[in-house]
Symmetry: C2
Subunit: 240 residues, 2 copies
């Protein structure tokens, strides 16, 4: 019996190692680490290792990935300012992009074997970040960085497309208003102090109705956030 | 004349190198990189190098620092969950902590020489992050990581104190209410969908008046944020 269980798990491990090899292009040495990357917290069953799941690895990988991308963009765009770099980074590390990257790499195939069909969209991005954590712990930063840039980002990400992508929610909303002949206005609801800095609360008023409002230390950022919420509420699709 | 200018700048560089040596404990090889770390964007004068300032370095350093701290906490607390780690990290990388760290290290002395007296509080934290960027670009990740942990964080940061620090704004506000016999209530203003996820708008009602409100995907996080805003508005000091 024990031998059968052992064989069952051993063959499962072998199958995972094989799948990982085809996804990653190398055979991981610390397989248990990579295995953990695919255990979502919703899978609290016999499959998980002592009820451990991938949240800690995800926390680590999220940070590592963000730094790898930050450094990549810093070197790729030597003449761009910090605002551009920050914006590009957030386009790359956002959930939607990571979910797509994970699918491009084929992580969905591995993940679906573990999730027994109960897959949610964000599980993909989570597993991707956790995998970055595992790669980092096995290889160290310089090698993980090289690997992520050359084997993942440059292969599966269209940087030029991301550069062009319009995430200016305010202009999207204004354009929609013009096209449909509906008035879109921004109204400052309040200005107050937080941490000794000014903070702004801004409302988006569409056709006379307040549709959404948002706060930020920066008025334009509050308008952006409120516009993003308004686009969702009004079901206006953007070009992402 | 040219020789005099040259000597002037050369002696300034020598003085900076000396100061940096006493702050960092080593003599930087790429001095221009470290110099740049102290150029705040408000110093657009003859002192800055071709009007370059430290924002790009700060963008890089901010990310590197966050990852160094993430990894340090990941290893220091092997049994803590991702929520605890994220909270601890945000306590360490927040502006206030970085400003204090920068002062502890003695960066204020270098910075004040550059800013000609026009020092703002956030310039300290900015310069600190930019310095981390410079250290990373000169030394690479593993060495920068070792240096930041052993020579900066472990020397100047009281991790235990940070662990104990109460940043639970809701409980602070509730305690204040109990002590002063004023009713503190939380009210769900709205629940809506954003990116197909539920988002909550929560108000804090103090003594019957709505004092602040905030949005988040997580109801408790919205309550925290609204509480933080209420504490500021009501001028209730916390124990930080």
């Amino acid at each position: 019996m024990i031998k059968e269980v052992y064989n069952y798990y051993f063959s499962r491990d072998k199958a995972l190692a094989k799948k990982l090899r085809s996804v990653l292009g190398y055979t991981p040495r610390r397989l248990s680490l990579y295995k953990l990357a695919f255990y979502h917290k919703s899978m609290n069953d016999a499959q998980t290792q002592n009820n451990q799941h991938n949240e800690r690895l995800e926390y680590l990988g999220d940070s590592i990935l963000s730094t790898i991308v930050a450094e990549y963009l810093f070197r790729k765009y030597p003449n761009k300012n910090e605002g551009f770099l920050t914006k590009m980074r957030s386009k790359i590390v956002k959930r939607k992009t990571l979910n797509n990257l994970a699918r491009e790499m084929g992580l969905d195939i591995i993940l679906s074997a573990y999730s027994q069909g109960r897959m949610s969209k964000s599980m993909m991005g989570n597993a991707f970040e956790a995998l970055v954590g595992a790669i980092y712990l096995e290889k160290g930063f310089p090698k993980a960085c090289d690997y992520m840039i050359n084997e993942v980002l440059l292969k599966h990400l269209n940087i030029h497309e991301l550069e062009m992508m319009d995430d200016n929610f305010k202009s999207q909303l204004l354009e929609w208003g013009q096209k449909n002949n509906i008035n879109v206005d921004y109204r400052l609801l309040s200005k107050y102090k937080q941490d000794k800095r000014d903070r702004f609360k801004v409302a988006v008023v569409v056709g006379g109705d307040e549709v959404a409002n948002a706060d930020d230390f920066n008025k334009k950022a509050a308008e952006q956030l409120a516009s993003e919420m308004a686009l969702v509420k009004l079901n206006i699709s953007n070009n992402e």
